[in-house]
Subunit: 277 residues, 2 copies
Amino acid sequence: MVAIKQVLTIAGSDSGGGAGIQADIKTFQELGVFGTSTITAVTAQNTCGVHGVYPLTVEAVKGQIDAIGADFQLAALKTGMLFNAEIIAETAKGISKYGWKNLVVDPVMIAKGGAVLLQEDALEALRGLLLPLAAVFTPNIPEAEMLSGMEIRNAADRKKAAEKILATGTEAVVIKGGHAKSSAFAEDYYLHQNGETFILRSPWIETEQTHGTGCTFSAALTAELAKGRTMQEALHTAKRFIQAALSHQLHIGAGHGPTNHAAFQRFPEKGRVHLVQ
Amino acid sequence: MVAIKQVLTIAGSDSGGGAGIQADIKTFQELGVFGTSTITAVTAQNTCGVHGVYPLTVEAVKGQIDAIGADFQLAALKTGMLFNAEIIAETAKGISKYGWKNLVVDPVMIAKGGAVLLQEDALEALRGLLLPLAAVFTPNIPEAEMLSGMEIRNAADRKKAAEKILATGTEAVVIKGGHAKSSAFAEDYYLHQNGETFILRSPWIETEQTHGTGCTFSAALTAELAKGRTMQEALHTAKRFIQAALSHQLHIGAGHGPTNHAAFQRFPEKGRVHLVQ
């Protein structure tokens, strides 16, 4: 008998396999945890863009969550694309009902090509219903700006935005630096309700093969939390995982290709991340 | 730059992660190919059964297939749960349109608990539209009985049923022996249009952890065909993969638990399969 931690992703489906529940399932598999899923919306998507979004009904989302809740023992879970306020409300209800802990909330809002993956009225539901349940929230800079209602131009802004985000009730926030293109480093800034703070810094990787980066990072974080790692350890491994996935490129498709989910296991030295305290 | 073969699964989603596109994506990842997917129906499912089925529209299926066709280079693909005649017709149309080769058709019809995963009128569409495009068709014994319209009680019946199935136009068929419980072996019988035939035999594994066995086997077969293996080599590896997955049990959930998709890479000696010619 094999002991394996069980995890859940509540998110959209990416037909192209680089993002969404597909990226999550691949990442979970690579990191040795058992992945289950609740699909909120199916997208017709490839490396060039999102060509169609087909949301599931709230009933279908509830059905999937209840099937998981009735039979699986989750050690951690993540949310990705939740699409609308009703699905967010149902998701939050399910998480509370089953008492699931180690919730990673990744705020999937807008695709690289500009497609809206989270409807406007859903932002309040995300803030008011889901973030109070989160162990950690993982916005990139544009998402952190939207959630905090302020621009982030420097380290002081980033700290202030993180503090504003903590007011929603999330236990911790990590503002990812992958959109700060002028930097020589990709710096992720972490802040916890208890004041704990650090930066994870890695060399900037110049690549167009970035499809699903956010999904993959948050899935790796979920897998590591499921295994009982501390938040700092889990974030460190997740950043090493995505560094390796970005470094060892696959070049699939004509647009922004997927990251390489297998790279971390095969080339762990590609994940170079420094903790700055 | 990493060269990796791209594959597609057109199938249902299993929230429980042991079958459907989730089993396929896990298997593809373990065998080193890049998985994409087209979801035909979302199920609310766990190890105890199927609690809800939410089919996608034909338009959504077409949208996903076209997103894949426009951007990915497929080396092989598989179909699983296609649910109804309209989705089968759209799937066949897409496969012809994009000229996809190495098609593995797994006839997902009825779940272990009895839930209908293929509507009755869909059998004719499967037979008339999809099987003529297949490189290999992978029914278990009850499915082979349904497709051939005859009972299979012994080796002579099995050969006759395979011949009847070849009349649909599929290039080859493998009738899997996993439902012949009286046997000391799990015997898969292969027959090709050109007369090539063999049996793959492995020790019977007594286990209740069989959820997604068929999906996993056909996904492994698809991955190996994508890598350029011959049909005999690909079937041999696929059977070793599922033998390992059944041998090294996870014990997840209260019902028929999922197979262990990671076992073949970690414990390859668990997959013992003999070729009988």
